[in-house]
């Protein structure tokens, strides 16, 4: 292929990259401007003066609380999901029992169903056990709905673990619990970290469960929080921009540091084998 051919190809790829990244850069730019500058100046101009006070204003105006809720709900759900999924994957792939294939199938069906079809009964269930407007309803829902995808990512790794490890451990008189928590679980560290980061992205960004189950402001997470918050600042573009940037920064930072894990997790969660 000639030089010109390559230039055209790079041009196309660069154009796609620009399309993907530019709206986010534009968002960052206007988060540092005031309305006057946004409405009269060029949308592509750098801010005349970097107005970081937009960030201070929205953080103190309530975003801080939503941010904290997102952190702890995301964190606890990740720990529960990865632990329970690891335990289940361990007995499904490593232990011998008749129903293992059937049980695995049940988890994998969970990957296909549209969650919105379950939301009305879930709502009425939580209402009956008084878990509506309680953040724990969110934690257990996230855990349940992320178990299938987490197990799917874990499966491949568990299948490739050598049998000799278990045999040696048992011959040495090691109990199954000890073997799982002290030997197997540490060995799956690389794939576990992938599932942690995938779960983090899912939980941090989740909207519909929080929007449905939580009504008090004090329990809302960032996604639903910013949605309401933006209502208050409807006309202040700088404040809206700052709010959105704050909400996406944790995920972008995680991507910056662990981009290979994210890529690995997303590809293995979509296509098996």
């Amino acid at each position: 292929m000639g030089r010109i051919g390559y230039i055209i190809l790079y041009f196309c790829l660069g154009l796609v990259a620009l399309f993907q990244i530019f709206p986010i850069i534009w968002l960052f730019l206007f988060s540092l401007k005031d309305n006057k500058e946004i409405f009269s100046g060029s949308p592509f101009a750098l801010p005349a003066e970097f107005r970081w006070e937009n960030y201070v204003k929205v953080w103190e105006g309530g975003i801080g609380l939503y941010f904290w809720n997102s952190i702890w709900i995301t964190g606890i759900a990740i720990i529960l999901t990865v632990l329970l999924a690891s335990m289940a994957t361990f007995v499904i792939t490593r232990m011998h029992w008749k129903l293992s294939k059937l049980v695995l199938g049940l988890f994998m069906i969970g990957l296909m169903i549209p969650i919105h079809s379950a939301i009305i009964p879930l709502f009425s269930m939580f209402l009956n056990v008084e878990l509506i407007d309680n953040p724990w309803s969110i934690v257990i829902t996230y855990t349940a709905y992320n178990l299938p995808i987490t197990m799917m990512i874990l499966l491949g790794f568990y299948y490739t673990l050598p049998r000799e490890i278990e045999e040696a451990a048992i011959i040495d008189g090691c109990s199954i619990h000890r073997m799982f928590f002290r030997i197997i679980l540490p060995m799956t560290m690389p794939v576990m970290s992938t599932t942690v980061i995938i779960n983090m992205i899912y939980n941090w960004n989740e909207f519909v469960f929080v929007n449905t189950f939580i009504s008090s402001d004090k329990y809302k997470t960032l996604t639903v929080g910013i949605q309401n918050f933006i209502g208050q600042y409807m006309t202040d573009w700088g404040a809206i921009g700052a709010t959105l940037i704050i909400s996406v920064v944790p995920i972008l930072l995680a991507f910056l540091f662990f981009s290979n894990k994210v890529v690995e997790g997303i590809s293995s969660s979509a296509i098996k084998g």
């Binding site: 029992w97 379950a118 009425s124």
Partner: protein, 292 residues
């Protein structure tokens, strides 16, 4: 050894917590949706059994079919856009310097929450100060449309952020599949005098066909249950012009308190998704997968 590794108590202890969670929070609610669909119920008062009335009403509900049409249009559009993603991946996988970085840049929108994407694109589409119309006006377009307020274009306008959101995801999958093709195969074709287009069309595409078929199922099923972005961006409006099945169901239940009727729509959404999944799988199934 075998005795230890088939200890029933251990198996139950390790698998039951996860199994109980998905049974109680996923499978039972799914079944209940179908059951609640048989009820006249506003979410508060006691339910009253009314048989198939909700389902019959749903089938005659023009609004439901309109939202279903929008969902299927979205599915069609998403499937067609796969071809664009595939073309980009073919370029990206053909010994391009910096492909790793480009692939990661493409993926960034996929990592953002639907709420953030929706709010950002509401601003992009803003009639007077948005990015899109600023560009259009700079290019000399006099009266660029109010993208999200125009019933005839709102649905297509929403397709753009959806395309933006998922491009990186599909490119990532295709790229991984293309990189899995053994180098000697491509090399041999090149020595035999095949052009890059021929190599792409005759060698690479058939080899990643199975992956392409999986993505078709993902795109269609994902579109049929699509909700968040549309709900936040337009709420299904103006006047139902961007309503999809999931947003119609959600609004029936949580805005109009029609929990019985909403459940019936939710159950239809489930059934439609399952039927379409089976049909697409059947339609794209091949007798034998190509081995390499």
């Amino acid at each position: 050894m075998n005795k230890v590794m088939s200890n029933k108590w251990i198996i139950a202890l390790y698998v039951l917590p996860a199994l109980l969670l998905i049974a109680v929070l996923i499978f039972i609610p799914l079944i209940l949706t179908g059951y609640y669909g048989l009820m006249d119920w506003n979410g508060i008062a006691t339910m009253e059994f009314i048989g198939l009335e909700n389902y019959i009403n749903a089938i005659q509900d023009a609004k439901f079919w309109e939202s279903a049409l929008h969902s299927f249009l979205l599915a069609l559009f998403s499937t067609l856009s796969l071809l664009v993603y595939l073309a980009i991946s073919l370029i990206l996988a053909s010994k391009i310097k910096g492909s790793d970085l480009l692939r990661k840049i493409y993926l960034i929108p996929m990592l953002l929450s639907s709420v953030a994407i929706a709010q950002l694109w509401i601003k992009v589409f803003n009639p007077s100060n948005g990015m899109l119309n600023s560009i259009l006006m700079a290019l000399g377009v006099d009266n660029p449309p109010a993208w999200l307020a125009e019933p005839s274009i709102v649905l297509y306008a929403i397709f753009i952020p959806i395309l933006w959101q998922y491009a990186g995801f599909y490119i990532l999958i295709y790229y991984a599949a293309l990189k899995n093709i053994p180098e000697p195969l491509v090399e041999a074709a090149r020595i035999d005098g095949a052009t890059p287009l021929q190599i792409a069309y005759k060698i690479k595409l058939p080899l990643i066909m199975s992956v392409f078929k999986v993505t078709i199922v993902l795109a269609i099923v994902g579109s049929l249950k699509y909700f968040d972005l549309i709900y936040v961006m337009t709420g299904g409006g103006p006047n139902g012009a961007s309503e999809v099945m999931a947003s119609y169901m959600y609004k029936l239940a949580f805005s109009s308190n029609e929990f019985g009727y909403g459940s019936a729509i939710g159950f239809l959404l489930l059934i439609i998704t399952l039927i379409v999944t089976v049909i697409v799988r059947k339609a794209t199934a091949t007798k034998e997968e190509i081995q390499y």
